[in-house]
Structures are given as structure tokens and as C-alpha cells.
Amino acid sequence: MTQAVSAKEQMAWAPRAGFLRRWEQALADRLNPLLVKEARQGLKSRQFAFTFFLALVSAWVWSLWGLAASEFYEMTVNQEVGREMLMGYLVILGVPLLIVLPLAAFRSMVGEHEDGTYELVSITGLTPGQVVRGKLASVLLQGLIYFSVFVPCVAFTYLLGGVSLLQIAVLLVVGGSVSIGLISVGLAMAVQSSSRHFQMFVFVGLVMLCMFVYLLCMILASEHLWWGASDASNPEFWSAVAWVVCLIGCYSLLMYSVTRAQLIPRGHNRSTAVRVVMLICGAGWVGGTAWVVQLTKGEYAAEVWQLFQLALFAHWFVACFFILGEQTEVTRRIRLQAPRSLLGKALAIWLQPGPTLGFFFTLFGCAVQMLVALLVLLQADALRRTDEVIAYVAALTSYVAFYGGMGLLAMRLLRRWVVPSVVVSLVVALGVFTLFLGMPLMYELLVYSVPFQQFRWYHVFNPVVTLDEIDSPTGGTWDILIVLTPVAVAAAGIHLPALWREIRALRHTIHSTATAWPDSPSELGSDQTQPSHPFEHLKSPAD
């Protein structure tokens, strides 16, 4: 009887089970192949087993120690216990999420190139975007496994009291976002150079960055746990959290597109997507500016606005130097994908590959976004000195033009001997900074012993001194701009012929491609276009 019922039940379940199996199969088929492979490979690795075991043991030890301590001090119902326990768990969980995973992502990507396996992957149907997403997803899967260990522990701290669900949620969401950001940075850094020495250097840099971010996150988490209990009722707190998460998301997207671009074969368009994301990140800072200006309601609006403009300047300044390392070669592939419509040529031409186009893109991007931010400030009517903020925008934009122009000039000279890359861009940046910032500093130290005591003409190249001078009520703002702006215009202007050449190369080749080279073998078949075969006479009569 029991067997009969069981058989009946099985028959009733069979179609559903079959459906589930098919659904599961279909889902498994649609998973990113790299995620499947990395999951199989990564979860078998010693690194994961060791870190996971260590995190597990640490969580247990902390739980037992925390409980024992709270018993000892008779603090079982004391509100501090949950808070302190949670902080301890965050300190432990932060190590795999903010240090181990970014480094694992870095090693995983470097390993593909070192072992020569990436070439084999690149000629499959997988796109560079799928490769990066696969790597990212596999590392996040590891993160999820680490996190699963801590879920009961975090729930336990909530039961102990002292922390609200909202506080826990905020910490985990922000922590998770920072982790994704660092993993993206790790992936982006891994593909910048195949040189072992450079990778060692980058690895050390990544370790330091991860540790710095880890410490910063722990300080902010403790600040929030101990002093931020009332933050939940404050809408400004939530908008700040949302903005920070959005900004981290934007820069993660930038890192993703940079990694993807590096994996795209040389000769293809690597630039457009990265430049679009650069604009989005810049817009993130402009949005932040608008929000802060509205929030401060005019009280400290100009000061906070200046801080955000410095961040926006840093964004475009760094972007400019990275773009200088772009390829100059305009291949047929790039030409074919270049915009053809009038509107497309006018707008999207700035998104096409080429160092000079890239330089002017960053310059225009910086200028336009700073002007938008300036309009936001003007609209809020929160100005004490209008000339000060206008001078700020002019000076910051001029610095992008001047240093970018000088960098591009140096890069153009270096292209004769070296192939441009991120490493070369960094060397160029270092050289330009040494020339215009380091040398005057050295000069002042040697001649006057104490630098920057008095504003001198060569300080005009130093943004720190100049902005401080502009900020000062007694500063000679316009004297500085009279020197700085023409110099910046000249630095950018010398590249106008090169800009024209790059634009013409894109336009010229779009028209000439069809006649210069046949696009398909069928065209080759026609008598007019078929190139002469050098060994035609060797073909057998059967051909």
C-alpha cells in the first residue's frame, strides 16, 4: 500500500521534476561559461579552502569569545554587546571581501595571460565583456560563500541588540559595493601590462590600496555603529548613502569598461565605451555637487562646491593621462564602425579612438561638466564671490588643457621609440609633473630654503598654490589667469593639426575602404577587383 502511494506520488511529481530539471538545465546552459569554469577551478584551489577555513574559525572564535566576555561582565542584555560583536564580525568579513577577493580577481586575470589560456578563450564565441563579467561573477560567488558563513553571526548580533536592521543593511550594502569596486580595480589593474615587473609593482599597489580601503571602511563602520544610530531617520543620510553607492557603481563600471577595452584585440575600437562611462562618472560628481549645494542651502555651498570641483578635476585629469596612451593606428575595423551620419560625426567623433581626439574629449568633458556645476551653484544663489568660482573653473580646466597638452606632446615624441600603453602614460605623467611641479619646488628649496612663501610666476603651473591664491581674498586671481589661460590654450592649440589629421583619417577611410579593399570574397571574385594571385600558374587544371 505504502509502495503504491509512493509510486503514485512519484508519478504526480514526475512532470514537475522533469520541468524543474529542464529549467535547471536551461539555467545552467545560460550561465557565463567562465563563471562555471572558475567556480569549478576556484573552489578546488588551496587559496579558497585556506581563506574560507580561516574565516570560519575566526567567526567561531569571535562568537565564543564575545559570548564568554559578555557573560563575564554580565552584559548579556547590554546594548553594547550586539554592536561590538557586529564590529568584530565586520573586521573578520572585511578581510576576505576587501582584501582577499580583489587580490584573487587580480591573480585570476593575470594567470590567464601568464598561462597563455586567454588567447584560446579570446578566439571562442566569448566576448571580452563576457570574460570580464565571468571573472567578476566568479569572484563574487566566492564572496557570497564567505558571506553565507557570516549571515547567522550577523543575525545573532541583531538578536543581542544594540544594532538596528537598517544599520546592518547599510553596512552590508556599502561594504558589498566597496568590495565590488575593489574587485573591478583588481581586474582592471591585472590587464594593464603583461610585464612581470610591472605586475609585481601593481600587485603591491593593489595590496596597499585594499588595506587602506579596509581600514577606512572599518573606521567608517565603527563611526556609524557608535554614533549613527539616529542616521536612519535622516533623509540626508539615505541620500548620501545612495550617492556613495551610485558613485562606487559608476567607477566600478568604469573599471569594468577599462578591463574590457584592454581585452579587445588591438586594432578594434577600445575607446568609445570607456569614454561614455567617463562621462557618466563625471555626471555622478556633477549630480553630487547639485545635491550638496541644495543640501547646504547656501551656508557652505561655495566651499563644498569647490571640493566637488576638485574631485571632478581629478577625475578628468587622471582620465586625460590614461587616454594619452591610446593607439594612433586607425584600422579598417575602427573606420567601418565610425559614425557616418552628420549628427553622429559631430557628436560621436569625440568618442572615437585616438590620443588627440581623447585629449580634446577630456578637455571638453571637463569644461562642460564644470560649467554645468557652476550653473547649479549660480542657480542656488549661494555665492559670496562670483569671480572666485569662475576663476576656479577656468583654472581647473586650464590645468587639464596644459598638463594634457604637455603629456600629449611628450607621448608623441616617445611614440617613435616605444609602443604607447598605460605604463608609458604613467611615465609621461611622472615626467611632466617632475618638470612643472618638482623642478620649481627643488629650485625654491635650493634658493629660498622654504618653498611657496610668496607667489611667483612659475607657481602658475602648480594647482595647489594657484587654487590657494585664488581662494585667498587678497590673491591676484586675474593675474594668475592672464598667464595660465593663454599658456593652456597654447598647450592645447598645438595639437589642433593632429586633431584634424585624426578626424580626417576616420572620415577618409570610411569612403575609401570599399574601393581600396574588397569587403567580401564575392567581391574578390569579380574580374575588376580580384588581386592577382602570385601563384596562379601553380593551380591545377581541376581548380
Binding site: Q25, A26, D29, P33, L34, V36, K37, R40, Q41, G42, K44, S45, D115, G116, T117, E119, L120, V121, S122, I123, T124, G125, L126, P265, R266, G267, T331, R332, R333, L336, W517, P518, D519, S520, P521, L524, P531, H533, P534, F535, H537, L538, K539, S540, A542, D543
Partner: protein, 315 residues
């Protein structure tokens, strides 16, 4: 034999690295079912050409087509139709043979039962079934080479590009590889193969391309190349009649070079001509009353052709 549209078409391919012309105006075609041997000294430009065909590099000038798709304009389409086996056998150490092939099957977009079938079939073809669960790091070089061939075949490509596939293999593995390649060609796949072992290529290839300093010195069926470079084949004749008569007739023939009387009945003659012309020569001798007991031709090997076309220069 009526041949269809070429599976590989290379037109005026150039690849410059600074002032070095790694590939300099290379053109050739490979048809479905054909095994094309790519021969040249180290640094001649073989690997660069193969990498361009595999869409791993871009030509400075010229174009190449894989199954009709340009490697420059439509590399995504070309990739789906080619299987590339580079001259290194790197694999993922922490996955087993089945997982490795399953990954590449997924990467080529194979799904569900089709993927399982593809993995099963290539493992059977390359003899890896018994090693399915073995980690790739534990495989011997010969087995890794089979695994790489299986990977290149997983999506059933029309074109196979094999860069030095026999390098470092023992004699048995080489023979097995040769058989597999011949089998694949018989299935209609176009195979472009490079190797330094010319005797092996001579046995397996339908046609060859000889490259040196980036320039293709010759391409096509070996016999036609031999004719082009005026290379003689050696005829051996055993005559039962007067050998002096045969000697005189041969010396007068326009396609015959030097003739030697090796002994009382056997003659050696240098002959420049194809099979048809050889048959005509035999017929001529018989018609002139020469009693021919044996008539055989020894053609110059691929090595001889290679050495006569190249100077051993590298760039």
C-alpha cells in the same frame, strides 16, 4: 576532383612590426578537404600568418577569409568556423579533461544535449574517454596535445589551423596525430599545418606553402612546385635490349637531363616533367623498340624542394 569555394583565402597579407616585415605579401588558398603544409625556417612568418588567420593579430595590409568571413571585418564569424591549435599546450590546472572541454563547448555557445554530445565525440575521436576525470595538470605532453586538438574540434569547425602540432611528440603519437589529421581532411575540413618535420608534412599534405623572411616562395601542390623550380625527378630504367640505344634516345629527349648507364641493363636519367610526360616518354621508348623491363621515378623530397627554395635567412 571538383573543388568548392576555398575554406582559407589569404590575399596580399602584410604584417609589419616596426621596420620588420614579418609577413610580406603572402597569398594562398586552402580548399575544403585539403591539408596545406606551411613550411619555413624559424622567424619566417608562419606563426604570425597563422595568428592573423586565427584572429589573434591584425594584418597591416591585405585580408584573409575563413570560410568566406574576413578575419579583419568579421572576426566573430570567422572564429566560429575555425579551430586553432597554437604551438603551446597550456591548460587550466585545476579542471579535469571533461570540464576543460565542457568549458570550451560552452564558450562556443553549445548548449544542453548538443554540448554533451560534442564533448563525448571529440573525446572519443582523440582517445581521451578514459582520461575524462583526470586533471589536466596530470596529463602527459602527448595527451595534452590531444586535448588541445579536441578543444580545437569541439565546435566542429570548417577550418583547422595547427601550429607545430607534432613538436616534442614521440613517434607513435606523431603517427596517430597524422592519422587524425588525415581523417579530419577526409571529413571535408581544410587543415593548415606548420611543422619543421618535413618528411611528415610530405606524407600528409596535399599542397604546401614555403615561406622565408615573410615572403611566400612557393605555394601549391608539391609536384607543381617541383616543376616550377625545374627540379628533376630521377628515372630508373631496366632495359633488356641494347642499353646504348636507350641511352641515345634518352639523351636526345628534351625533358631529360643527364643520363648515366649504371650497369649493363640499368640506366638513371634526370627527368623534368609530370606524370603524363613520363608516360609519354615510356611510350616513345617502347615504340622505338627499347624493351623496358622496369620504369620507375624517384621524385625529390619535400626537404630537397625546401632547401632549393630557401636560403636559410632569418630576419
Amino acid at each position: 576532383m571538383k573543388r568548392s569555394q576555398p575554406a582559407i583565402e589569404v590575399y596580399n597579407l602584410h604584417r609589419f612590426f616596426g621596420t620588420t616585415r614579418a609577413v610580406d605579401d603572402v597569398s594562398f588558398q586552402v580548399h575544403p578537404g585539403e591539408v596545406f603544409g606551411f613550411i619555413g625556417p624559424n622567424g619566417a612568418g608562419k606563426t604570425t600568418t597563422m595568428r592573423i588567420l586565427a584572429t589573434l593579430d591584425q594584418p597591416s595590409f591585405g585580408n584573409a577569409y575563413i570560410a568566406g568571413f574576413s578575419v579583419v571585418e568579421e572576426p566573430e564569424q570567422a572564429r566560429l568556423r575555425l579551430g586553432f591549435m597554437p604551438d603551446y599546450f597550456n591548460t587550466y590546472p585545476y579542471v579535469n579533461v571533461w570540464e576543460y572541454l565542457d568549458f570550451f563547448a560552452r564558450a562556443y555557445g553549445l548548449r544542453g544535449a548538443r554540448r554533451h554530445q560534442a564533448v563525448q565525440e571529440v573525446m572519443e575521436f582523440t582517445g581521451l574517454i578514459s582520461l575524462a576525470e583526470k586533471p589536466t595538470r596530470a596529463l602527459s605532453k602527448g595527451m595534452k596535445q590531444r586535448l588541445c586538438l579536441a578543444r580545437a574540434l569541439i565546435h566542429d569547425p570548417d577550418v583547422l589551423i595547427l601550429d607545430e602540432p607534432a613538436a616534442g611528440l614521440d613517434p607513435r603519437a606523431r603517427v596517430e596525430l597524422r592519422q587524425m589529421i588525415r581523417h579530419l581532411a577526409n571529413q571535408g575540413k581544410a587543415v593548415l599545418i606548420s611543422s619543421h618535420i618535413l618528411t611528415e608534412l610530405g606524407e600528409i599534405c596535399d599542397s604546401v606553402g614555403i615561406i622565408e623572411q615573410g615572403r611566400l616562395k612557393a605555394a601549391g601542390p608539391l609536384e607543381l612546385i617541383r616543376q616550377r623550380i625545374n627540379q628533376y625527378s630521377v628515372l630508373q630504367l631496366e632495359v633488356l635490349s641494347d642499353p646504348q640505344q636507350a641511352l641515345g634516345l634518352l639523351q636526345q629527349h628534351e625533358l631529360v637531363g643527364e643520363v648515366h648507364l649504371r650497369n649493363q641493363h640499368v640506366l638513371w636519367a634526370q627527368f623534368r616533367g609530370d606524370k603524363v610526360q613520363r608516360a609519354q616518354l615510356l611510350s616513345y621508348l617502347v615504340n622505338q623498340g627499347v624493351k623496358v623491363a622496369e620504369f620507375s621515378a624517384q621524385e625529390g623530397s619535400l626537404e630537397e624542394v625546401f632547401l632549393s627554395l630557401t636560403q636559410g635567412q632569418v630576419q
